[in-house]
Amino acid sequence: MAMNDDMDELLRLYRHASNEAPAARLDARILGAADRAASMRRWSRRIAWPAAIAASLLLWTMWPAPGHRSPLTTDPMAAHDAGRVRSELQQMDVTPPRNDVDRFLLSTNLHPQPETGNAL
């Protein structure tokens, strides 16, 4: 307790005797730097939303519309094959068979399922 009281007395005496202050030019320099840093921070906060909106608008205007997009065919050979198949299909005779035999053959399954023997 006496040690603490002694220290408290020393601290009180020291604080009473110690009264130096920094020079005014130091204050001005430090406060000026702090002001500049704070104003830059405020400026960046104010500009953030308008900049984001402007960037979004720019992207939206620059992005190609869906109707103007090029076809997704990237492989020329695939396009060629697709055209050939389409022309073959268009040339096929799709008229129904005229006689009964042809109709029977077309409606009959030529590859029946094999008997498994599991039927009850």
Partner: protein, 225 residues
């Protein structure tokens, strides 16, 4: 007969009311804001400054400028060197405000920066820290002289400026770790834990340093008692 063209009173009154906030803002800049900020804690001020409120920094600066200046002055010994460290510390606060964590007291963080800046400076300069600053005059002679004088009777010594000066000289004569611990307690009003945080050591070490500092200061002022 002369016709006087005057706007209706309601219109002028409405304009005056609308412009009143602007007029107050221009005539008394941010006084209310400063008053409001002054009531905030250190951590709240730091948080506000991080968000761009410059008044919050001014409040913090006003609270700690003299304390930190005296700390650097007693640590460095030379006024020019102390000013450079002082400025470095505040610039570190300005530039490193994002790094402040409110879980530590601002004062401990601030004095911790000062501790490291001073150590870095002495490391760069390639010399040791001033272990004990030479007094401006022969302190022992001064103490003997003042002690013998009836002006410095024991019942008056606490309010005596000369005793205070002798104490400051005795603080300057302490070894650096003890001086630093004493100054952080005296100027920063830091607890043992905060001093340990700022100096990167343990609470027990700080306690020991303060005990030695107290003992040496008491011995230095023995002639006054």
């Amino acid at each position: 007969m002369s016709a006087v063209i005057a706007p209706p009173m309601d219109w002028t009154h409405a304009c005056a009311q609308a412009l009143e906030p602007l007029r107050r803002l221009l005539s008394q800049p941010h006084l209310e804001q400063i008053a409001e900020t002054s009531a905030l804690s250190d951590a709240q001020c730091m948080e506000r400054y991080r968000n761009g409120d410059v008044h919050a920094f001014r409040v913090l600066y006003a609270r700690y400028r003299e304390k930190l200046h005296r700390y650097t002055l007693r640590l460095a010994g030379k006024a020019s060197e102390a000013e450079e460290i002082f400025q470095d510390v505040w610039m570190a606060v300005v530039n490193g405000k994002a790094g402040y964590q409110p879980n530590a007291p601002f004062a401990a963080w601030l004095f911790g920066i000062a501790h490291r800046r001073a150590a870095d400076r002495w490391r760069v300069l390639g010399r040791h820290a001033p272990d004990a600053i030479e007094p401006h005059e022969n302190a022992d002679d001064a103490i003997e002289h003042h002690a013998a004088s009836p002006l410095y009777a024991p019942d008056r010594h606490l309010d005596n400026d000369a005793l205070g000066r002798a104490l400051v000289e005795a603080v300057n004569g302490l070894p650096l770790p003890q001086r630093e611990a004493f100054l952080m307690k005296a100027e920063g009003e830091l607890s043992l834990e905060d001093i340990a945080f700022a100096t990167g050591t343990t609470r027990e070490t700080v306690k020991s340093r303060l005990r030695y500092a107290q003992q040496k200061l008491r011995e230095a002022l023995q002639a006054w008692r």
